[in-house]
Subunit: 356 residues, 2 copies
Amino acid sequence: MQTFFTPGPAQLYPTFEKHLQNFVSGQLGSISHRSQQYRDLHRFTVEQVRILLNVPETHAILFLGSASEIWERILFSCVELESFHLVNGSFSEKFYDYAHGLNKYAHKLEKPMGEGFTAAEVTVPEYAELICTTHNETSSGVQMNVAEIHKLKQKNPDKLIAVDIVSSAPYPDLDFKLIDTAFFSIQKAFGLPAGLGVWIVNEKCLKKAESIRQQYSIGAHNNLPTLWKNSLNNETPATPNVMAIYLLGKIAEDFNQIGVKTLRKETEQKAQLLYKFIEKHKGFSPFVKEKAHRSQTVIVANTELPSADVIKAVKEKGMVIGTGYGQFKSSQLRIANFPATSVEQVQELIKVLETV
Amino acid sequence: MQTFFTPGPAQLYPTFEKHLQNFVSGQLGSISHRSQQYRDLHRFTVEQVRILLNVPETHAILFLGSASEIWERILFSCVELESFHLVNGSFSEKFYDYAHGLNKYAHKLEKPMGEGFTAAEVTVPEYAELICTTHNETSSGVQMNVAEIHKLKQKNPDKLIAVDIVSSAPYPDLDFKLIDTAFFSIQKAFGLPAGLGVWIVNEKCLKKAESIRQQYSIGAHNNLPTLWKNSLNNETPATPNVMAIYLLGKIAEDFNQIGVKTLRKETEQKAQLLYKFIEKHKGFSPFVKEKAHRSQTVIVANTELPSADVIKAVKEKGMVIGTGYGQFKSSQLRIANFPATSVEQVQELIKVLETV
């Protein structure tokens, strides 16, 4: 068996197999998505995610096919004409591109890969209706501090703000009194197979969608008012990925039993081990120079040796790490730091990297 | 363990657990969706579905989140201004409603639930660009014969035609020289947990999408040109439901080993047993009067007893059948007839229904 330190799909959480077995033996793959049994399952997952991420009742927790689908649904729902995007890597860029795909006018503030944003340096264009931020840019390992995201909203209280927490949730401690919408997928830090996007979204976004709909399309499939209405009954508009919703509920429950504070502390502890190593060890260096902008969940290292050689050497020891993204494919490594890999496994990885 | 005769989610196919176990032990939930290992898995599934449904190379086979998502993507891709829908139940109605949701002008020819269409009675409006048909209307148990769908296209060669085969594939033997696009989901006749929609679509639809894009949005997420381009490399634009794609490939391979002709014959044989029973047995009668329009995969029966009583009695014997849909919830039963349930299991169900 290999240990995956790849940034998604990633290592599966240790309890995954047990929960999957219970799903199968309970024949939950066959139950109707309009049954009370399903509604109870759905409600359980919503409750566990709500506790884990401290989401107030002002926000719905909705289930879609993927985080990418949620990019589109956020833009449909929250942007009549103009959006604004902080872009510093491939995924924040894709969110921006989606706005064009829906014929919205998209503004951006762009920085090179490896650099991050603070609230002070951001001026949101006057007519932008939505500020799109990426808490953790998976392609470059840059994180925008939660405090800076909160400040950005406080500076722009009349704009809606969206936070991509795809490859960091449940690490960021977002204050949902300030955050209108956020979203993640389950194949990253939740340690589950891909196939589900989770959309946290408040009533302001719902009202905005209802107002936009008077004049423009807000989408037909999984549009926000329909998702919202169904969620009040613990249902989804179409047949959902029941297996993924069940598994997410169980993993979130496991996380809650550990406690999100402990999980966050462990994440920081493991990240510190990895950054310390790549800072000091010859042949490696951190890609993100500014310490405050370094991701705690996706650590990106420059490597003097071709990344393929390092990856191969590590693989021989039963561990899988990721290449750099795009233009950095061969000169960087990406190492995921999710709850599924323990401190001991990270120490083991570092030991192996030391010998490369 | 219960046997599910519900029309989706449905009984899981007998080999499902074995394939799932192989997915888990092979750690396929952690592999990168940009790796050769993934591309091989993806290609295998496409090949098996292509063989099973006799899909020529002119058509791509694409993976999305659900069949409902595909309704939207077909309308985005194939309709600049006007669509035309044959509506005779809740699911064909939803396809029609989606067109409104995208601000298209949607025409419909409507019949009451329980009635079906022939090509001769359909006149497609002059400016409609796409004809939307439903091979199997899951809500009412009405089937449109494949020969009639083919004739409809032959009568209207300049229109695109879409066929919803959600709750019937692989039963209908569509001629893809005539059919521009068709789609299904895996929680029906493929006997898998929900979470994947499969879109079969030809180059004419691609060309149309590229032309529409000059002036209108064709969607940002999973838009056809992006899906198509990725599929040439056996990839998807975003992280897909790898588990479901893997399982579909394995079930399609199992189906191919049995042979699609045998599967279709068995489906007809089981349907005949069920229709014969509900025609003759006091207290039951077929909802669909016209024999030629009766679904082979979702059998709908009127019941004199309240449906809840029948369902309860059957459940005590370890079998689950569905209620009627919408207004017919308490006066009808819906019995799925998919490959996951054998002739013997259908005979067993009939025995139990005889005693109710």
